[in-house]
């Protein structure tokens, strides 16, 4: 009887040891990273581009790319974790914040990912990062630009990309630069030719934030907002809105629109024969590959607030081979959002390497001490270092920056960097050439 009980005990201990031993092994062969993106629904095309960017980064980390001048290209896995490979586990949030939160739970606790990334839509990033914060695991966001995200004082949330406040600051620095003749290829533009602004934003979280920032900086830089309005996201017709912008006598049109509306706005303005001197689109729809693909020559001369251009290769050589690799996968060039997702995964890899462990506290320490130099990045940034660049921000990359591109030579054209002026890849075309 006693012997039997002893046997049971011994067997249970043995079983427990066998089960527990893989978990106790110090070096994981595979590091799982949860990645939440809009992979179905209206934002699916964007989600696909972002996913390709993230997957390319993981591929470069996990395999050897001898020609690439990035440290991750030489790694073959995370060196300080015994060459463990990064495995991205994608989840679809459908643009629904509730789904984002549920997927975050699944990734964190069922898939046992060591951290999260995504989610593009700021509203989904809000709910998904709440789950990460509750679970105490790191969430590194590469592509959501609502300023509110890093003003919540979260302990487990880092943002790599600059946010809206920056981009709007960039816009007004750019306009000021134009009036001082700093743009390549054009003489100083008299301020009265570009200082009357008409602003159209969609009535979403993001559009409202963009509008608020534009109003704040316009006052600071002494530009006049002669017309502004919010319009319903995905409108059936924007004739009245376009007419209102034209009637305001504004010479610069500013937009914050997703793809469908940006196409409709430009088509309508063209139809109505608007003659602004400057058109500026805030990221999103204006930087999608589908935007010039759809509208062809009508986009020439439009300025886009972006973070990237494949043309940056002229001034930043590392982007040329990277863009080629991306193009081979996706079929089109990197754009601001997909490039930021590349950098997002890169930041994760460097953080893991510095942390030398997958322990959340160690990763947190590594992220807070991170100082990734500019030459590791394909973005025209000074690097990645988390801090508090604007009042209220925490754990926000403080040395990132945006660019302003101009679409030139479509169809078959390029989006050329015109700001920062030192990164300019082509002459600035001014005034807006019209709808030829």
């Amino acid at each position: 009887m006693r012997g039997k009980r002893l046997m049971v005990w011994l067997v249970s201990v043995a079983v427990a040891v066998v089960i527990a031993s893989p978990a106790m092994a110090a070096e994981p062969k595979e590091i799982k990273l949860g990645y939440i993106l809009p992979l179905s629904g209206p934002l699916a095309p964007t989600g696909k581009a972002l996913r390709e960017g993230a997957e390319l980064a993981a591929d470069i980390i996990n395999n050897k790319y001898p020609g690439l001048k990035l440290s991750i290209a030489q790694w073959e896995g995370i060196p300080n974790l015994g060459g463990a490979k990064i495995k991205l586990i994608f989840a679809d949030h459908r643009g629904d914040p509730g789904w984002g939160a549920d997927q975050a739970k699944r990734l964190i606790r069922d898939e046992k990912v060591i951290g999260l990334a995504g989610c593009y839509n700021s509203s989904v990033t809000k709910t998904a990062s709440v789950e990460a914060e509750r679970a105490g695991i790191p969430f590194v966001n590469g592509d959501s630009t609502s300023p509110a995200l890093t003003k919540r004082g979260f302990k487990w949330f880092w943002r790599v990309t600059p946010h809206e406040t920056w981009f709007t600051a960039d816009l007004f620095n750019f306009l000021d630069g134009l009036t001082k003749g700093k743009a390549p290829g054009v003489k100083a533009i008299p301020k009265e030719q570009i200082d009357k602004l008409a602003v159209a934003v969609e009535n979403t979280e993001w559009g409202a934030a963009a509008l608020a920032a534009i109003q704040e900086f316009a006052a600071k830089h002494e530009y006049k907002i002669v017309e502004w309005f919010k319009y319903p996201h995905t409108a059936a017709d924007l004739s009245s809105e376009a007419r209102r912008m034209m009637a305001s006598g504004a010479n610069s049109y500013l937009f914050a629109s997703y793809l469908a509306d940006s196409i409709l706005f430009i088509k309508t303005l063209k139809e109505l024969g608007a003659t602004p001197r400057l058109i500026w689109g805030q990221d999103a729809g204006f930087v999608e590959p589908d935007f010039p693909k759809t509208l062809g020559a009508a986009v020439n001369g439009i300025l886009t607030r972006d973070l990237f251009s494949p043309e940056l290769g002229k001034v930043k050589p590392v982007t040329i081979p990277l863009n080629e690799l991306y193009k081979k996968r996706a079929g089109y060039d990197f754009h601001g959002s997909s490039a930021r997702n590349f950098v997002g995964v890169q930041v994760w890899a460097h953080a893991l390497n510095e942390a030398k462990s997958t322990d959340p506290a160690a990763i947190r320490k590594a992220l807070n001490e991170m100082n990734l130099p500019a030459d590791e990045l394909l973005m025209p940034w000074k690097g990645v270092r988390f801090g508090s660049p604007f009042p209220g921000d925490t754990q926000q990359n403080e040395i990132g920056s945006g660019v302003i591109n101009q679409l030139q030579g479509f169809p078959g054209g390029k989006s050329q960097v015109v700001y920062p002026f030192e990164f300019a890849t082509a002459d600035f075309v001014h005034p807006f050439p019209g709808w030829k």
Binding site: L39, S40, A44, K48, I89, F90, A91, D92, R94, D96, P97, G98, W99, A101, D102, Q103, K105, R106, I108, R109, D110, S123, K126, T127, V130, E133, R134, S146, A148, R152, N203, T204, E205, G207, A208, A209, P232
Partner: protein
């Protein structure tokens, strides 16, 4: 009093097998967090209970009343916003915000109900849809409610019963409690005078009127009760997600999902909402999670649409209709 309690808790008029199923369901739901470790399965369970709860409320007007309401999300929104804004601005304890949400949802429904119940059938359905959409756009427009930016509730580090924030096991019992409360309410309701009147006018409005039932009055009361039941679930959504915006709590998709849940499960049956949510929510959430990585765009919704069509065409009484037929035959 004891009569009331009996009406609430008694399932005496239902067959023995149904009472057994109810007990099994309650036991499974109560032990669920101990049986299942997967966080996603728990999230699916919470979503199931939430949608089933919405279905219970909708079943009152849509199932027992036969009035297809495609705007229940507006009531969810009233509840969610009442809770969110009161917690955010005035630190009101959760349980004080719930009656406020119910009050506003009921008030609004009462205000629009009279003109709307001059419409019947499809006309009524489209009217509810338009009113709900107008409210959603107004909430996006309105700055005090956060507009499109939504409302964020601060995360509390420790479980907090004043503001009802805790881990997911806590949320599980929280939503299960709300669900059971509404389930028992519906059990009382279906046997109440109002319930019988409502079913009578669903089956034949003219006959009901000739029996002296106040047709419009009964419909209006039912519509208002439905609104209040929906608002309660909205309050839960606020403390569950800790973030709400009009797209999360007031979308057309939610209105349609609620009505569809009841229809798939079986409208006008106390079991319909539970069966419908059990059929739709896990399917949707597992299919969506499983297919998402594969780069197939929309295949989950295609399957979803196909299932809905088949049920609508061949089993309009929903899954409950099938169960009833099989058990009666056997």
């Amino acid at each position: 009093m004891s009569q009331l309690l009996n009406d609430i808790f008694s399932f005496g008029d239902r067959p023995f097998s149904e009472r057994i199923v109810l007990i099994v369901f309650s036991v499974v739901a109560l032990t669920f967090p101990w049986l299942v470790e997967s966080a996603y399965a728990r999230a699916v369970m919470i979503k199931f209970l939430l949608i089933a709860l919405f279905g219970l409320g909708w079943n009152l007007i849509g199932g027992y009343g036969g009035q297809v309401d495609l705007g229940q999300a507006k009531n969810v929104g009233f509840g969610a916003y009442a809770t969110a804004l009161m917690i955010l601005h005035w630190h009101t304890p959760f349980w004080l915000t719930v009656p406020v949400g119910i009050f506003f949802a009921t008030l609004e429904s009462f205000a629009v109900a009279y003109p709307m119940f001059r419409l019947r059938g499809h006309y009524f359905a489209i009217a509810t849809l338009c009113v709900a959409l107008a409210w959603k756009e107004l909430f996006i427009f309105w700055d005090w409610t956060g507009g499109a930016r939504g409302v964020e509730i601060p995360i509390r580090p420790t479980p907090d019963f004043t503001f009802m924030e805790f881990g997911e096991v806590g949320y599980h019992y929280f939503i299960f409690g709300l669900f059971m409360a509404q389930f028992l309410f519906m059990n009382w309701f279906r046997k109440s005078k109002l319930g019988y009147q409502l079913q009578a006018l669903r089956d034949n409005e003219d006959a009901a009127a000739s029996l002296g039932i106040n047709v419009t009055g009964t419909k209006v009361i039912a519509y208002c009760i439905t609104a209040g039941l929906g608002a309660m679930g909205g309050s839960f959504m606020t403390v569950y997600y800790l973030y709400i915006d009009p797209d999360l709590v007031m979308p057309l998709d939610l209105s349609i999902l609620i009505a569809m849940t009841v229809m798939v499960g079986g409208a006008g049956s106390i079991w319909g909402p539970m069966i419908g949510a059990a059929a739709l929510i896990p399917l949707d959430m597992y299919l969506g999670a499983w297919l998402a990585g594969g780069g197939h765009y929309g295949i989950d919704f295609m399957i979803y649409g196909l299932i809905i069509m088949i049920i609508a065409a061949y089993e309009p009484k929903g899954i409950w209709g099938v169960i009833e037929r099989v058990t009666k035959r056997g």
